[in-house]
Symmetry: C2
DNA sequence: GTATGCAATATTGTGGTCAATAAAACGAGA
DNA sequence: TCTCGTTTTATTGACCACAATATTGCATAC
């Protein structure tokens, strides 16, 4: 008999069944993003497995995924190491992020229709409510959401994925940065400026505004990582 | 006694011990890059494990790594699926790649010293030998090497990693593209132009040249993926 | 001939076990 | 008290077995 066809790919994500591995992958990802796992020290697989109530096999699969994502490092026979926080890496990521956002903006100028742009504007204007009393944490999430929505307008899936990955890795720093921000209005207005440029399809101008907006000074990066490390250390003491 | 310190991170990669997982990870990565695994069909873990002479446990860890890298897709209870080849994704990756290369170039203009730039020039000039008789495969590798070296001059590790990842994913397409190239001199000369711009620290001009150089037309992308799919299909019959 | 439900088969998911390796603790000698 | 080498302990590496799930094959009904 002729060889029978193998199983073809299932229909793309109707609804997610969410396996064990994917569940704990998300959980561990959140932990590393928030530096709840000691950076720079090997993490104990058995301990973590027990905490998550799974065995080491699926745990290691989840950890493996995080390796290529840059969340963890892996040393043979030594184990998985949560990433450390250093200003070189932060600066590097900021540089890449700025240029990717710039690309997203330019593509959005070309590809997004007015309705979609209107949606972005409405989203950000709706964030005006209680804006000044928001915690830095919440503000960071809304800011991130704004940028994600902008990126979606580019209609470039790969670009979106990379930006989301970078955003996750620098979220901790972003929060610290926003906390130290005295006045928040500039940030709010800059987003509106970006939307305005988008509406005018002003690729060059908008991109300039955006990349300006996303820049992180070396001094700020160093200060933020210093503060971040201190906070991680403190958290450890207090429990 | 005070709580003792946990194991700190080992000295950064003196030489790599290369564990089993990392070994097969690289092997499978190559296979997917070259589409030696049926795209769009679930791959059989037991079979592949036997072929690589390992058990399923380390195999699945390696496969998991490739998921976040975009090389494989994972569907719970269905298994791992080698990625398919579609022109939307190819175009997306090309767009991102162009802008990242542009960034690398600009950073290199600022950060690379003359000696390093000289090294890049010498590397590419050394590629002149037998240039026209090189296989598309070999040419693609040298081209990729050139771009990697350029990216290294940016001194941005994250950027370098992302570019390497993207390059791997589009290598197959690159080769097809290079094959259909009638005359190769333009490509060779463009690289020299880029080096020249770098030597002159001409950020804007060089970036323009570079992004021009890296562009892929929609038509070419469609043609290349079509050809690619045909080739994969053909290989299956004959091989 | 097509469809539907059930049985048989194949494949993935996960826990357990033990070997290999690294880290820690210990002890002898200087 | 420090250093070096040895023993002990802890942790990771990987195979296997079986459970959970999906896929295929088959038979019966319409």
């Amino acid at each position: 008999m002729a060889p029978k066809a193998k199983a073809e790919r299932p229909q793309r994500k109707g609804r997610k069944p969410l396996s064990t591995v994917e569940r704990i992958y998300g959980a561990i990802r959140e932990m590393t993003i928030n530096y709840e796992l000691k950076p720079n020290a090997s993490l104990n697989e058995s301990e973590l497995a027990a905490r998550l109530d799974v065995s080491r096999t699926p745990l290691r699969e989840a950890l493996s995924r995080l390796v290529t994502e840059g969340m963890l490092e892996f040393y043979p026979n030594r184990g998985f190491f949560p990433r450390t926080l250093d200003d070189r890496e932060v600066l590097d990521l900021y540089e890449v992020r700025a240029v990717l956002e710039g690309l997203a903006f330019e593509l959005a100028c070309v590809r997004a229709d007015n309705a979609a742009i209107g949606g972005l504007r409405r989203y950000w204007e709706s964030c005006r409510t209680n804006y000044d009393s928001l915690s830095a944490q919440k503000l960071a999430l809304r800011d991130e959401e704004f940028h994600v929505r902008l990126a979606k307008l580019s209609e470039n899936t790969q670009l979106l994925k990379m930006l989301e990955s970078i955003n996750a890795r620098i979220r901790f720093i972003r929060v610290i940065n926003l906390e130290s921000l005295g006045k928040r209005d500039p940030l709010y207005d800059e987003h509106l400026d970006i939307v305005a440029a988008l509406e005018k399809r002003d690729r060059k101008g908008g991109r300039r505004t955006l990349e300006q907006h996303m820049r992180l000074s070396v001094a700020d990066a160093i200060a933020a990582t210093k503060e971040g490390l201190a906070r991680i250390h403190l958290r450890r003491r207090t429990g």
